[in-house]
């Protein structure tokens, strides 16, 4: 039972990593489609989301099967964390799809004349995502803890862009449609950073058996 179980755990880990890389790619591509006004790339991201969804289902099935073997201690935490992470990754995929839809729509209209810091936000969010996944692979609790506060930066950037776009809309009402798309895209990136933060919290639980979700933080 032992070796079978260990290999089951290893399969779960591997599958999670594949799903994670797909989610990363989706975010990357959706942001690129947005900035480069690439209609086809945007559509690509949208269709690829199905694959990410299927991964979530498969991973949950694998996890349930492993749970019937009544794992304990770190094995138990790994299985439950895997289910949580896969859910976060699926949502990240969904957010990437939302960005892609906005990219698709924006690419069909002329660009607005506003300098937006979206690339910086994207880089921050993507870095958080990558580091959370690395922390998971390396079982590095410290690395996970370190990236959590950066979520506030992303929130701050989102607020800035929201305000900038709101001002622009008021000044140039004919850009309202396009500005709203940008607002939604930015919100999606902020959500992606949130999910990365969630995953980091799960990694901390996996490594330390400490649940640091919802603990009081300075706003």
């Amino acid at each position: 039972m032992d070796n079978l179980f260990e290999s089951g755990l290893e399969n779960l880990r591997q599958k999670l990593l594949v799903m994670a890389s797909r989610a990363e790619t989706a975010v990357n591509q959706s942001v690129e489609a947005l900035m480069q006004r690439d209609y086809d790339l945007a559509l690509q991201v949208k269709t690829d989301d199905d694959i990410i969804d299927r991964f979530e289902i498969e991973i949950d099935e694998m996890a349930i099967l492993l749970l019937t073997k009544a794992p304990l201690a770190s094995n138990l935490r790994l299985v439950t964390v895997a289910m949580k992470i896969s859910q976060n990754l699926e949502r990240i995929g969904d957010e990437a799809t939302k960005i892609a839809k906005r990219a698709r729509d924006l690419s069909q209209e002329p660009p607005i004349k506003l300098q937006l810091d979206l690339p910086r936000m994207a880089v921050l969010a993507l870095t958080m995502l990558k580091e959370a996944l690395d922390a998971f692979v390396n079982r590095d609790s410290l690395a996970a803890r370190v990236l959590i506060p950066r979520d506030k930066e992303v929130d701050a950037l989102n607020r800035q862009m929201h305000q900038a776009l709101a001002r622009h809309m008021m000044e140039y009402p004919d850009t309202i449609g396009r500005c709203l798309h940008w607002i939604v895209a930015a919100k999606s990136l902020e959500r992606i950073a949130d999910h990365a933060k969630n995953m980091a919290e799960e990694v901390v639980y996996l490594c330390e058996a400490q649940d640091i979700r919802h603990t009081a933080r300075k706003m």
Binding site: L72, S74, I148, P149, R150, E153
Partner: protein, 271 residues
């Protein structure tokens, strides 16, 4: 500049053993020798009152040996030497002049293989009562019924109290042995893998029974089955080659043990 959220002591240290209720069984620095071989090495452990404590560990780790020290059943083996002290309810059970009969009345035992006497069901339960002076039939009838009720077997045997105990199924026999043990109203019940020879349904009934019994008795159970320990015990002690490796609340031992050896055993990496 983002501030890093770090816990107060980042490296998780070995958590001290949590003891719900006051310690009832105090095992201090106990070592046991079979002739020249040392089977228990300096075990110190405090078990709480009216809780279920599980002893887990691979075969030969000493958990059954320690269990049998608690009612001095190890006295029956030639060439055994015990150092250290064991106090139950404040009294050192290995002191000079301790009445072993009285000890075994207060500390009962249920064995791995059920061992009902080849007598009737009634006589099995009444055996201990007769030993300790109960003779009035009405009193005996009442205690026998109460014990069989508390062992969750009364309904199955109430119509055949005077038929042979050997006609019962394995699970029923084990519950009968539990009834027999609790009839003399001990304070502690020791169980040495009580369900290991039983099918899953019988096992689950014994486990439910134990959860009920702990309201009245302090229970120590040796088990090979970690899921069982996780299901029914409040505290768990992990033993390895005669040493106590870790002791703590069951929830901690099975979700986040402090010692690597415990983690390895519990996740099945050995044993």
């Amino acid at each position: 500049m983002a501030d890093i959220v770090l816990p107060k002591n980042f490296v998780p240290a070995a958590a001290p053993a949590a003891e719900p209720g006051k310690p009832f069984i105090e095992i201090q620095d106990v070592s046991l020798y079979y002739g020249g071989a040392q089977a228990l090495k300096n075990i110190s452990l405090n078990l709480g009152e009216k809780v279920v404590t599980a002893f887990i560990g691979p075969s030969g780790c000493g958990k059954s040996t320690l269990l049998r020290c608690l009612n001095r059943m190890n006295d029956l083996i030639d060439n055994v030497r015990i150092d250290g002290s064991i106090k139950i309810g404040g009294h050192d059970i290995y002191a000079e002049g301790v009445d072993i009969i009285e000890l075994r009345k207060r500390v009962g035992m249920v064995f791995q293989k059920s061992n009902p006497f080849p007598k009737s069901i009634y006589e099995n339960v009444a055996y201990g009562l007769r030993l300790h002076g109960v003779s009035k039939k009405s009193e005996m009838d009442a205690i026998v019924e109460e014990s069989l009720q508390n062992a969750a077997i009364w309904d199955e045997v109430k119509d055949r109290l005077h038929s042979s105990a050997l006609g019962l199924s394995g699970g029923q026999q084990q519950r009968l042995c539990i009834a027999r043990a609790i009839a003399i109203k001990p304070e502690v019940i020791l169980m040495d893998e009580p369900a290991s020879a039983l099918d899953p349904i019988a096992t689950s009934r014994i486990e439910d029974l134990i959860l009920n019994l702990k309201k009245e008795f302090t229970i120590v159970i040796v088990t090979h089955n970690m899921q069982q320990a996780a299901r029914i015990s409040d505290q768990t002690a992990f033993f390895y080659i005669g040493e106590l490796v870790e002791f703590g609340p069951t929830s901690k031992i099975f979700t986040n043990p402090s010692q690597k050896r415990t983690e390895d055993y519990v996740t099945g990496r050995f044993g």
